[in-house]
Symmetry: C2
Subunit: 214 residues, 2 copies
């Protein structure tokens, strides 16, 4: 989606030497690498230009500021998560099946965007004003997708609780996969998703506590 | 624990105007506030001095550097978590009871140290070298406490899985309480801990999936 956002040109003509989409994507990829490695505040615009092999003038033509890059990175990643969640919520699957699919899809996206998640967790506070609010709206819509499925599951009797604490807990468990996942570890993304889905749906206890099972 | 660490004096005599422990604690509290509000990189030493009402010279007498403050904050908080976990692990409770106690204790400490958790998640990367390694060792020891209880539970047949993915998932769910907990929300820390303990032990599904229950 990074190549299609229309708001970046500000009426200036595209640079002649390279397709603008390519240069812009290269700058975004460099910024993701650098922000993830050394943080938003620890990264200078000149470094991003050097890593992307783009001259200073072209850099400012393609991006307005370092904060603009942070915004594009977090917006693109969050919009992707939201699209995937909405797609699953709109199917006719029963709630528990939807929840399993949401978990699998979310873990896969978290792992594929491990650097963006790290940037989000560390540097989202640097997005001030309208952009910070807009990102929060996208994040709220993702949470709302999960809550809708969990609410439906409780209404149908398939899930025991639709408490917001549980929804927050589930998303916390899945989002933090980005902190500990290692590409060459002994569990694949699909195995991780299945282990966590089983933990969340069936619990890790082999017996049911009569005080807590509803 | 902040008043007892012996390594800060470097042979200089204590300042005469105030008990050194008090001043030091005031500086630490100011740094926790400011780092949590605006990040480690976004906070200047002079700001910390102003917030703590401490002169520049006294500031440098009590702390060596801004990084030293970050280290003390994260070390104290992590050591507290470790002490609590070790205390529970060393009791004679059965594994599931220990796990419930670990969850309650961890959620309580996370909520009481919400700002330290935010600093940890955002700025731990600023701790370089030996200190970064020492903090990681403390964190590994906490994880090891949880893993030991979960391993014991699996061996005794009370828990279904002792996979590291599950342990990481549990800690991720609990640690991120710091992101969404609000002091005036509709759930107390004890209720949050119980809801998450039930989710983790018994799952949120009312039925057991025959494909996943071991």
């Amino acid at each position: 989606m990074t190549g299609t956002a229309p708001a970046r040109r500000r009426g200036r003509p595209p640079a002649a030497e390279a397709p603008p989409g390519d240069t812009r994507d290269r700058i975004l990829r460099a910024a993701i690498d650098l922000f993830a490695e050394q943080g938003f505040h620890g990264t200078g615009v000149a470094e991003i230009g050097a890593r992307a092999d783009v001259q200073r003038g072209a850099l400012y033509y393609h991006i307005g500021s370092k904060e603009e890059l942070l915004w594009l990175i977090l917006r693109d990643y969050t919009a992707l998560m939201l699209t995937a969640a909405e797609h699953i919520v709109e199917t006719d699957d029963p709630p528990v099946a939807k929840l399993r699919r949401l978990i699998r899809s979310h873990v896969r996206l978290i792992i594929d965007h491990q650097r963006e998640v790290a940037i989000q967790l560390r540097d989202v506070g640097a997005l001030a004003g309208a952009r910070g609010a807009e990102l929060q709206t996208l994040r709220d819509r993702i949470q709302h997708c999960w809550q809708r499925v969990i609410d439906d599951g409780q209404r149908s009797g398939a899930l025991r609780s639709a408490d917001h604490v549980v929804t927050n807990g589930i998303l916390g468990m899945l989002n933090t996969v980005a902190f500990w996942y290692r590409p060459h570890g002994d569990r694949s993304p699909a195995q991780i998703a299945d282990l966590l889905a089983t933990t969340l749906l069936d619990g890790i206890s082999t017996t049911t506590d009569p005080h807590t099972k509803g």
